[in-house]
């Protein structure tokens, strides 16, 4: 099914006179607005990180290198045609599951959790699953009638539940919830009926109760702490109390870059990783945090735009899921730091210090770029 408007759009874009730079961008299958948004966030993030890490240039350089690697990963993925990704999706998903099982049986232990696999290089297979799950879900739905039927939904539920369970077992509840979310987003976008969503929402209440028993003690503690942080101000509640003090004392415009006493005098724990948003809030105030949220919104918006523009179901669902999962990241982290949700180990994307997750994120955006720049007529 070929539509004239699409062809026209495609042709006219190619025919338009472009500068060398835009030409290069186009040749590299890069989406300019998306790249700009991501780079702005990353650069902003580097500034915040420099301050949060106690003006540690070595750490900053480390993060910059990781960022570079992630951008390269994004560029490489952007060159892969969507068809290629689609073709390899089932295999990738199965390989991911296999690796997750391997992690549980023979992974490296760090900080009380078994998350890493060491095969020459140390990496977390759960990171790969962040992309593999929405890809698999989208792949499963691409040829099926939408909105999906109940039987299909049940199969998808299993496709999502297996990796989620394996990752929760590590234990890494934060990642497990994000991966489940990325899959669920696909089926919501695919048109699952709102009635069903509501129904599942009601079912989620006993589900949450079941989850409570599944949680580790420290995770239960985090939930209790959220409800009453002052119950144990020097223990479990310390992080939330200190991050709220940091944010609140920042006020409208903040204490100024590198002047945050909460961060620099080490009151705020995990200030350059999960709680970096509080450093931003302390030093740049409401103005700073809203600016960052606006940048995130722009990236998410651009991602959804790309999804809407995509020409096939697989691309649409995948692009939409990647964009909205990014939103889930941002929301969970900022809501956690501001004390709206329990502390779960979710970094602030592109700003928190840390490597693997950044590569995964950028690879995801590479997929968005590939989808957008290599749009073609339906693959018939």
């Amino acid at each position: 099914m070929l539509r004239v408007s699409d062809t026209h759009h495609l042709l006219s874009a190619k025919a338009a006179p472009v500068s060398n730079f835009t030409g290069l961008i186009r040749k590299l299958n890069v989406d300019g607005p998306l790249l700009s948004g991501l780079l702005l966030i990353s650069i902003f993030g580097l500034f915040v990180l420099y301050s949060a890490a106690g003006e540690d240039t070595a750490l900053l350089l480390n993060q910059a290198i990781r960022l570079g690697v992630a951008v390269v990963a994004m560029l490489i993925v952007a060159q892969l045609p969507p068809d290629f990704l689609r073709r390899w999706t089932p295999l990738g998903y199965l390989l991911g599951l296999l690796l997750l099982v391997l992690v549980l049986t023979s992974g490296d232990v760090g900080q009380g959790a078994r998350r890493w696999l060491n095969i020459g290089i140390r990496f977390q297979p759960s990171e790969a699953m962040k992309l593999a799950v929405p890809m698999m879900t989208a792949w499963f739905l691409q040829d099926r009638q939408l909105p999906p039927r109940a039987g299909h939904l049940a199969i998808i539920a299993i496709l999502i539940a297996i990796p989620t369970f394996l990752i929760a077992k590590q234990p890494d509840l934060g990642t497990a919830l994000l991966i489940a979310a990325s899959g669920i987003i696909v089926i919501v976008l695919a048109g699952m009926s709102f009635r069903l969503i509501m129904g599942l929402g009601v079912l989620a209440i006993p589900g949450a109760y079941g989850l409570w028993h599944f949680m580790q003690d420290y995770q239960k503690q985090r939930v209790l702490t959220l409800l009453n942080p002052d119950s144990d101000p020097l223990g479990a509640g310390y992080n939330i109390i200190q991050s709220k003090i940091a944010m609140g004392s920042g006020g409208l415009f903040g204490k100024g870059w590198t002047n945050g006493s909460q961060a620099h005098l080490e009151f705020l724990p995990e200030r350059h990783t999960d709680f970096i948003f509080a450093v931003l809030g302390e030093e740049f105030g409401l103005f700073g945090v809203v600016s960052l949220l606006v940048l995130y919104t722009f990236v998410i918006g651009r991602g959804l735009f790309i999804a809407v523009q995509a020409h096939d179901t697989y691309s649409r669902l995948l692009a939409g899921s990647i964009s909205l999962t990014f939103l889930v990241y941002v929301f969970v982290n900022t809501a956690m730091v501001t004390g709206l949700v329990p502390v779960v180990g979710v970094p602030l994307p592109l700003v928190s210090f840390g490597g693997t997750s950044m590569v995964t994120l950028m690879a995801g955006f590479g997929i968005l770029m590939s989808i957008h720049s290599q749009r073609k007529l339906l693959p018939h």
Binding site: M1, D143, R144, Q145, L146, P147, I185, V188, L189, A190, G191, Q242, K244, I245, A246, M247, G248, S249, G250, G251, L252, N259, S261, Q262, H264, L265, E266, F267, G281, G285, L286, V289, V290, L293, Y296, T297, I300, G301, L304, A307, V308, T313, R316, L317, G320, L324, L327, V330, F331, T334, A335, T338, G339, L340, L378, P379, H380
Partner: protein, 632 residues
């Protein structure tokens, strides 16, 4: 070409997707708005609250210990002061290998190897930025030694601190006492607000009894710190200005003692090499002039801190240098109570001025074979009361004891202050014992022991048996003799001086119940007899008193340490030194205008007049202006 499901409608699907995308976008905006609303709440509405909390987070209140008050003698000479001393400190967080560092410091003899475990424990348990004191005072040689080695010891350094110093060493260790590091009991007892920042407290002597005055009040200063409590520089003057105002520590009050350095030294020197005590006081107001217990110790050891080995040596020394014999040591007063009993006997009619006894060297109760010996085996011959005092005839007192009775003895000796604590401004003073029938009933459990026996009255008349008194009590009682019944509570603190204003609060003499003797002549009679002890032709201590440039009165005493079996001759030289009699002496001078009372006890000194009296004389000489010291 893939086979599509026949009902798959791409156009419819796209519209469905767009609808869902819009729905998700709206949801996203709502979620982010929720976060922004929360941020507005925290950063706009609650900003002030959190700004205050953030400020409170970083401002730590640190206590500033007050400077301890000084102690002076009656002429303003320093007895206890605070000197800057260099102490060796280790900051745990700056030391990589604490064990290795301590081992190497021990190898340099800067710390004792016994203490390594203790320091390791302290380094592990304390806050990591807080220094652990390894040695409170470094000698010049140690400072020089360490200064060369310092580069090899990162995290170890010497720091100046004020350390309590007793310039006269052993001289005042029992009177003034010492300060020592706070222990757990101290921490529970003391007001944590006043003692915040304080490391030492008075443990004994005036340092303990006047702790409240000497200590002062802690001040506070505000520090900007990081989360681990370490001080960090203020990053803005604004912040510094916003800090609450620091409160200065108020220094402790200075104490002026009634003690006289020269008299104290004379007593200390005279007691050198002995175990015993000297208490000298002014009978007209109760001021203590000298208070010495021997052997002594260096109180600086406690102020500076000593090794376990050093402390063990002090504790386990059989001569008990830490024991304050002057106020805690209780001894049988021996014949020193004879002047008091004489007054009691005259007053109650148990004897009179003309009664004479033929002393044959022993006394027997009717119907009893037991011989109560006189100290002079061949006897004193015929003696009246005057002779009985001057020559210290025991038999005279044995004989009148039956007429006087134990309860009268108890009554009069109690009036002189024996048998109960004097109330001196020191902690832990002992009260001694003046027995009576009632006392025996109350202090023994089995019936036979609760009875009072006549033989016990006999030996009580020469200050033996159950009777016990401290040297201080003897001095106070002697004061009442010297003043003919006027009594004052003894005290060592003459004045308390505010360290800032210099205002002095002077201790007023505190009169206590007088010893009333109806016939004034009895005083005259007994005091003259005491005078003759020193300066009469047959006085027991005439060898000491003769030739004194002033008129003195005294009374010797010996107190048995063990009882001698009947009819056994005993040879002093063969007796173990520690089984010899204690030598006692009480005295005052001048006779008609008493200015000083001295009580002396020399443990196992054998002879009151031969050993204890010369010590008393040396102290008096010094005080009355005939001594060696010129009083610098």
């Amino acid at each position: 070409m893939r086979l599509l499901s026949p009902i798959k409608d791409h156009h419819l699907e796209r519209r469905l997707f767009i609808g869902r995308a819009i729905f998700c976008a709206v949801l996203s905006v709502l979620l982010l708005s929720l976060v922004i609303a929360r941020l507005v709440q925290l950063q706009v509405f609650d900003h002030e609250l959190f700004a205050e909390k953030s400020q409170g987070n970083r401002v730590r209140i640190e206590a500033v210990a007050p400077i301890r008050g000084l102690v002076f003698d009656r002429k303003g000479r320093v007895i206890a002061e605070n000197l800057p001393a260099y102490q060796l400190e280790l900051i745990p967080e700056q030391v990589d290998d604490i064990d290795d560092t301590l081992q190497r410091l021990a190898a340099l003899n800067l710390i004792e190897s016994d203490d390594i475990e203790r320091f390791k424990e302290l380094s592990r348990t304390g806050q990591q930025f807080k220094p652990v004191t390894l040695k409170f005072r470094l000698s010049d040689a140690e400072i020089a030694n360490f200064a060369i080695q310092r580069p090899r010891f990162p995290g170890v350094d010497f720091q100046p601190r004020l350390v309590r110093h007793y310039p006269h060493g052993q001289l005042f260790s029992h009177a003034v006492g010492y300060v020592g590091a706070l222990n757990t009991a101290d921490v529970q007892r003391l007001d944590s607000g006043r003692y915040a920042g304080t490391s030492h407290t008075g443990k004994t002597g005036v340092e303990a009894s006047k702790e409240d005055n000497l200590h002062g009040d802690a001040g506070f200063r505000h520090l900007i710190t990081n989360a681990r409590g370490r001080q960090v520089p203020a990053d803005s003057s604004e912040l510094l200005e916003s800090l609450p105002i620091d409160e200065n520590a108020s220094p402790g009050a200075n104490i002026y003692l009634s003690l006289d350095l020269d008299v104290q030294k004379a007593a200390f020197d005279a007691l050198a090499g002995r175990r015993g005590a000297v208490v000298a006081l002014d009978p007209t107001n109760g001021e203590i002039l000298a208070l010495v217990s021997a052997p002594s110790f260096d109180p600086n050891l406690f102020a500076v801190g000593m090794s376990n080995a050093q402390y063990g040596e002090l504790r386990n020394n059989p001569d008990r240098p830490l024991f304050n014999r002057a106020v805690l040591g209780t001894y049988p007063p021996g014949s020193t109570i004879k002047p008091m009993l004489s007054l009691a006997a005259l007053e109650t009619g148990a004897t009179n001025l003309t009664r004479k006894t033929i002393c044959r060297g022993y006394f027997q109760l009717e119907g009893n074979e037991h011989r109560y010996r006189d100290w002079k085996p061949e006897g004193h011959g015929p003696v009246d009361l005057h002779d009985a005092i001057a020559q210290s005839c025991d038999v005279y007192f044995y004989e009148l004891s039956g007429d006087l009775g134990i309860d009268n003895m108890h009554e009069y000796l109690t009036r002189f202050g024996l048998g109960s604590a004097t109330g001196i401004d020191l902690i832990g003073e002992r009260g001694g014992i003046v027995p009576s029938r009632e006392w025996k009933r109350n202090n023994f459990s089995d019936r036979d022991n609760q009875r009072w026996y006549n033989g016990e009255t006999v030996i009580a008349s020469i200050g033996q048996g159950f009777m016990l008194a401290t040297p201080l009590q003897l001095a106070v009682a002697t004061g009442a003799l010297a003043t003919r019944g006027e009594r004052f509570q003894p005290h060592m603190v003459a004045a308390v001086e505010d360290a800032i204003t210099g205002a002095r609060s002077i201790t007023q003499p505190k009169s206590i119940a007088n010893v009333d003797i109806r016939n004034e002549f009895y005083w005259q009679y007994v005091l003259e007899a005491m005078h003759d002890v020193m300066q009469g032709p047959r006085g027991t201590a005439r060898a000491v008193g003769m030739g004194a440039p002033y008129e003195m009165a005294g009374k010797s005493g010996t107190a048995q340490v063990i009882s001698i079996a009947q009819d056994d001759e005993y040879d002093e030289d063969e007796l173990e030194e520690r089984l010899r009699d204690h030598a006692l002496f009480i005295s005052f001078a001048p006779l008609d205008d008493p200015k000083i009372v001295v009580a002396v006890i020399v443990e196992n000194g054998s002879s009151g007049s031969g050993v204890a009296a010369p010590i008393a004389k040396a102290v008096m000489d010094q005080y009355l202006g005939f001594g060696d010291a010129t009083g610098q």
